[in-house]
Amino acid sequence: MAQRIDVTDLNVYYGSFKAVEDVSMSVEPKSVTAFIGPSGCGKSTFLRTLNRMHEVIPGGRVEGKVELNGRDLYARTVDPVAVRRVVGMVFQRPNPFPTMTVFDNVAAGLRLNGVRNKKALSETVEQSLRGANLWDEVKDRLDKPGAGLSGGQQQRLCIARAIAVEPQVLLMDEPCSALDPISTLAIEDLINDLKSDYTIVIVTHNMQQAARISDRTAFFNLAATGKPGRLIEMNDTTKIFSNPTEKATEDYVSGRFG
């Protein structure tokens, strides 16, 4: 189910302003890749190009290739909406749909894509909630509003919602930054479980988190303020944190800046 991503010479623009420059990388299937770097260096912008969410912003555009298992996501024949069904995303702040119950929230992706069979929906909702480690906590309150859960539970709900549509890749944009340490631990354990089924890319500000959960890490940085962000180095996590090649990486990882 999980697939590999190959990015070639990607440039990301907001209108005429180049935000990210010349990124080329590969993400292995069934692995966790972390994007780290200082604020404003383009990690989230780049992440959003992987599921074509960047173009939702007026003026957002991309030059270059992003291939999912060999298929270019930005080809003219490709439907951006369909790409987002295959590459899912979890955001920084939990955003369950406020007018829907827990069940409806998890089923939302399926229902809005035309699935009507009640049995199929129930089974998928249960599976997704189990997969997100939330089933035991909400199985008695599936018909209560989704917004009535705690922050950590809401974020796991959003993860369940994202995996219910069975994507190939799961993108996570700082999923734990709005959560307390206990919820963060729960989500990190969850990511560890999920990686056996999905390709996961996670943007994080927290270097220790990147060191804990990722297999490979990519370090992004800005040349100077006002310049576009670049991919400085990408390697196995253990190597990046113990023996990085680039000086900028070493400075960032040891806390000399950022």
Binding site: N51, M53, V56, P58, V81, A82, V83, R84, R85, V86, G88, M89, V90, F91, R93, N95, P96, F97, P98, T99, A108, G109, L112, N113, P145, A147, C158, R161, A162, V165
Partner: protein, 300 residues
């Protein structure tokens, strides 16, 4: 340690902790009194109107004939009959007005918030602003020119509704727009990230989230136009009989009933005038309350 008040200079703010001086207290009381005076100046006329209408009109409203019978056969001397024909007429016209203006207004608001970016959106927004300021008689004259002069049709209840649509549209567009803008963008993004197309995101996520606010806006807009009299004077001549047909024949409405009975000077007619006025106020009040109740109980 240096201090700002060094070398015996007077401090800018005194260290005293005593109560304010008499002069200060007087200076404080004057604006307070002015505000209270303005408040009363605003509230007194309102209370006075309500008191007048209630004392003069309540007695007729308490009998069931008021609510169930029309004015057929009742002349200016008779006591009796009711306002059923006028109430039904007002409600019918209001319903048709809502049925036409609400879909147009909601689609316009959706366009302005979710889609419009360029010159067309700015032009539409400008047009809505202009519509907000149109006097009701101008809207009525426009519909008259369209319905009677151009299309050659007879004046009817439906033409009144059309004029009311022009007056209700900008109100509902603006309030719906505000409610849609209040929906946080992260909800739209969450929906897009699930692979849901934009139109479905709007209809199944954005609008349901803004729904209670939209309903409130519609009810408040309706309450506004129900009392508009100019369209009725131009397009909806009064009748004493019940008429359910929006397309032929005269249809009574509460404002025109008030107007009619006002022109007769004998007491039974005068009582009916006030009673009809109270009925209209009650109707507007009910719509306002319904709007706020819906807003309160739909808050998720």
């Amino acid at each position: 340690m240096t201090s700002i008040a060094a070398a015996g200079a007077t401090p800018l703010i005194g260290p005293s902790i005593e109560r304010p001086s008499r002069a200060r207290e007087i200076r404080n009381a004057i604006p307070t009194d002015l505000i209270w005076t303005s408040f009363f100046a605003a509230v007194v006329p309102l209370v006075w109107i309500l008191y007048t209408v209630i004392t003069k009109g309540l007695s007729l409203l308490l009998s069931s004939t008021w609510w169930l019978e029309s004015q057929r056969g009742i002349t200016v001397r008779h006591v009796g009959g009711g306002a059923y024909h006028a109430i039904v007429g007002t409600l019918l016209q209001a319903t048709v007005t809502a049925l036409i203006s609400v879909p147009i207004a909601i689609f316009t608001a959706v366009y302005l918030v979710e889609y419009g970016r360029g010159r067309l959106a700015r032009a539409v927004s400008f047009m809505v602003d202009i519509l907000t300021g149109i006097p009701s008689i101008v809207a009525a004259l426009f519909i008259y020119a369209l319905w009677v002069t151009t299309l050659g049709l007879d004046r009817a209840g439906f033409s009144v509704s059309l004029a009311l649509v022009l007056l209700m549209l900008p109100v509902v567009v603006r309030s719906t727009e505000e409610m849609l803008r209040l929906v946080p963008n992260e909800l739209r993004e969450a929906s897009y990230a699930l692979g849901v197309p934009k139109w479905k995101t709007i209809s199944r996520v954005v609008i349901p989230t803004a729904f209670s606010g939209i309903v409130t806006g519609v009810l408040l807009g309706l309450a506004r136009v129900i009392g508009e009299t100019a369209p009725l004077l131009i397009l909806g001549p009064y009748t004493k009989e019940i008429n359910f047909n929006l397309f032929s024949g005269n249809m009574a409405a509460l404002p025109t009933m008030i107007n009619w009975d006002r022109t007769q000077s004998l007491q039974p007619a005068v009582d009916r005038t006030w009673a009809a006025a109270l009925t209209l106020i009650l109707l507007v009040l009910l719509l306002n309350i319904a709007g706020r109740v819906i807003a309160r109980f739909s808050r998720v």
